[in-house]
């Protein structure tokens, strides 16, 4: 008797034996570093500064979310909450003039690279005083003056832009490197592979960082990706690393080493930093694709809380001081909201501004 053929199935299902590819854990974290902060070359002041930055990113977004829910502004709102150790550790590891480019989950990146809470909030509100003059909104925070080249809304679209910025750095011998942050979902855009090949071939001073937060929208990384993401590097003979993204010291340590190497030999890197997205993909996501338990697992090792605990346990500064910092940040964020609410909407003429560099460009009618 002929054996009944099993029905063809294309997407991976039943991973970890649970139903329909639901996972017990979306990302496996490598161990955090055990090097002491002093051996990492960090001062007490640095630690407090890192905490401040992470706490600002967190509170800014929590408040932004409230304002969004109150209907104060529209568009998408993708929150970085849970991933703040990556932006913070990286920026502390890089030189101030190293170039950074990222995807639409960009608020944290802006805040740690010179976008003020006021300019950030005003951008969310679509006001002239926003960091992108209210033209871009949540997905397009930018502060190019301080080498933050912005957030981009087409998944994978900014991958070659990052390489292009690195190309120009090499061409001009500027000594700057470019770091291009992408999501785990963006790994599957063909352009990544074209770009990685050229980067390796041309020795571009570029670091590609995949912020693997476990999910691309509703699809877990394990369901959309074959093998380990970081191993994409092998095909191009590119240097690679996997990093724990919930621990800011680890991100700092590894990114600093990588940056130093890139500056020396101008060879690109492909880095996977594992982390977790606490909130939904955007604001309208019922999150049926993951369990509450999974989320709680990662919230137990929350990067902001972890840093705060470290600071207190090691008496880096007093509890009172931390309390003051938190209060000051809270107030700053509330002021930013007030600022954004009272700021001017763009003049109607602004619709036609920033299209071309000329003062009076020709528009087709």
């Amino acid at each position: 008797m002929a054996k009944k053929q099993e029905e063809a199935v294309f997407t991976p299902i039943g991973l970890n034996k649970s139903n329909n590819g639901k996972l017990d854990k979306a990302v496996e974290l490598p161990d955090p570093t055990d090097t002491s902060y002093k051996d990492l070359g960090l001062t007490k002041q640095d630690l407090v500064g890192m905490f401040e930055s992470m706490y600002l990113q967190r509170r800014f977004e929590e408040r932004a979310m409230q304002m969004y829910q109150k209907g104060k502004f529209g568009g998408f709102l993708h929150l970085y909450i849970g991933q703040e150790a990556i932006s913070t550790g990286s920026v502390w590891a890089f030189n101030d003039d190293d170039d950074i480019i990222t995807a639409y989950r960009d608020h944290g990146w802006g805040l740690v690279r010179g976008v003020t809470p006021e300019a950030g909030m005003a951008e969310l509100y679509g006001k002239t005083d926003g960091c992108s003059k209210g033209k871009g909104g949540s997905m397009h925070f930018a502060n190019v003056k301080e080498h933050f080249w912005g957030g981009y809304g087409i998944v994978g679209g900014h991958i070659p832009l990052g390489a292009g910025i690195a190309f120009a750095n090499k061409y001009k011998e500027s000594g700057r490197l470019a770091a291009c942050y992408i999501g785990d979902g963006a790994v599957h855009q063909g352009v990544l592979h074209e770009t990685m090949n050229m980067c390796q071939l041309w020795k571009l001073p570029c670091i590609f960082v995949v912020e693997n937060n476990g999910y691309a929208m509703g699809t877990s990384a394990r369901r959309h990706s074959v093998g380990e993401i970081v191993d994409r590097a092998d095909a191009y003979g590119m240097k690679k690393a996997v990093i724990n993204g919930m621990d800011v010291f680890t991100v700092y340590e590894k990114m600093k080493k990588i940056a130093e190497e890139v500056r020396k030999d101008s060879l690109p890197w492909f880095v996977e930093i594992r982390t977790y997205r606490y909130r939904g993909h955007s604001m309208s996501d019922p999150q049926k694709y993951r369990s509450k338990e999974e989320l709680e697992e990662y919230q137990k090792i929350d990067p902001v809380e972890r840093m705060k605990t470290f600071i207190l346990e090691n008496k880096i500064t007093s509890k009172k001081k931390i309390g003051e910092i938190e209060e000051a940040i809270e107030n700053r964020v509330l002021e930013a909201i007030e600022f954004a609410e009272n700021a001017d909407a763009p003049e109607p003429e602004a619709l036609f501004e920033d299209m071309f560099v000329e003062e009076n460009p020709i528009f087709h009618k």
Binding site: E7, A8, V9, F10, T11, I13, N20, G21, F73, G74, G75, F76, G126, K127, S132, G134, K135, G136, G137, M139, H140, Y152, G153, I154, V155, G156, G157, G185, A186, H188, Q189, G190, A216, M217, G218, T219, R223, H224, S225, K288, Y289, A345, P346, P348, A350, L351, F352, M355, F363, H364, K365
Partner: protein, 327 residues
């Protein structure tokens, strides 16, 4: 007649075609487990399983092309783009392959693939998420382009699109998915591709439109009626092949025409329709054809700028007033 949301009409069309032909399958980002980013494929995974409801990685170029190849080899893929703004990444497969392979191989293959998803803007989503691509695809020989505006048209036309043996671009709108309308309960309800529909009769002026702009135009027509202006409202439904006869017949009656198009002005549907009217009905015109389009500017985020940017009923009324010399 049943009252359905636009998304339900889409789903029912796919469902019926999947039930009829096991070669029909759906592929795209979040179409299966998530039930579609805009829930247009809700329930289909439960019904048809993982073989025929296929979640893809974010690889538009790849899965669009896999759709083309599968269609060449006998299947009938319905490829969903989360929006046509992301189909830009798949343009090579749609434009260089789907539309050309049959011709290049001297008719040895056919490519019965449907590329579907929302088109155009959907509120303050910024410049990269707000472009209307219908006229761009219509530019290329070898593609049929459909953009319905109401659930009934959506159902009948999508079923026809899935049965069509050529590549079809089927465009929807995020902002229309929740829109309710009466949908025919006729068994196997098919609307022929390439037929416009006069959705309101009037003698004073013809408005030619499609997609989301149909609803803007309809609102304008209701306002104008109060003012004693009777609009003849033509919903193109199919952009290509364009139903020129219906347009010309109406213009010969009203002698005036406004084209309302959610695209930038250069080379859009409005430009094409305007040209064709002057070619076919020049002597019937009492005023130059006017058009209402987006400006020649990217979509801004700021709410107040976005509202200026997107055509609204007032823009349509102004254009009607111009062609009727009521200003």
């Amino acid at each position: 007649m049943a009252v359905l949301q636009f998304r339900e009409a889409i789903r029912d069309a796919i469902d019926e075609e999947m039930a009829l032909d096991e070669n029909v399958f759906v592929m795209g980002e979040e179409v299966a487990e998530y039930n579609g980013a805009y829930k247009a494929t809700e329930g289909l995974l439960d019904k048809y399983g993982f073989k025929r409801m296929i979640d893809t990685p974010i690889s538009e170029l790849g899965f669009a092309g896999i759709g083309v190849g599968a269609a060449m080899n006998g299947l009938r893929p319905v490829i969903e783009f989360m929006t046509f703004n992301f189909a830009v990444l798949a343009a090579d497969q749609i434009i260089n392959h789907a539309s050309k392979v049959r011709y290049m191989l001297g008719g040895q293959v056919q490519v019965p693939v449907v590329f579907r998803g929302p088109n155009g803007s959907a509120g303050q989503l910024g410049a990269t998420h707000s472009v209307a691509y219908d006229s761009m695809y219509a530019h290329f020989p070898g593609l049929k382009v459909i953009q319905p505006s109401e659930p009934d048209d959506a159902k009948g036309l999508l079923k026809s699109a899935i049965r069509d043996n050529n590549p079809v671009i089927f465009m929807e709108s995020e902002q229309m998915y929740g829109l309710k309308g009466e949908v025919s309960e006729e068994e196997d309800y098919l609307i022929p591709i390439g037929k416009a529909k006069v959705k309101r009769e009037g003698d004073d002026v013809t408005i030619v439109t499609h997609g989301k702009m149909y609803h803007v135009s309809k609102k304008a027509a209701a306002e104008l009626e109060k003012d004693g202006v009777e609009v003849e409202l033509i919903d193109l439904r199919t952009i290509k092949p364009l139903d020129l006869d219906t347009i010309i017949e109406s213009v010969k009656k009203t002698n005036r025409c406004v084209v309302v198009d959610e695209a930038h002005p250069f080379g859009g549907v409005a430009a094409e329709v305007g040209y064709l009217i002057q070619r076919e009905a020049f002597d019937y015109l009492d005023a130059p054809v006017a058009r209402v389009t987006l400006p020649d500017v990217n979509a801004p985020f700021a709410k107040n700028l976005f509202d200026i940017w997107l055509p609204d009923a007032k823009d349509v009324i102004d254009a009607v007033n111009t062609v009727t010399y009521r200003k």
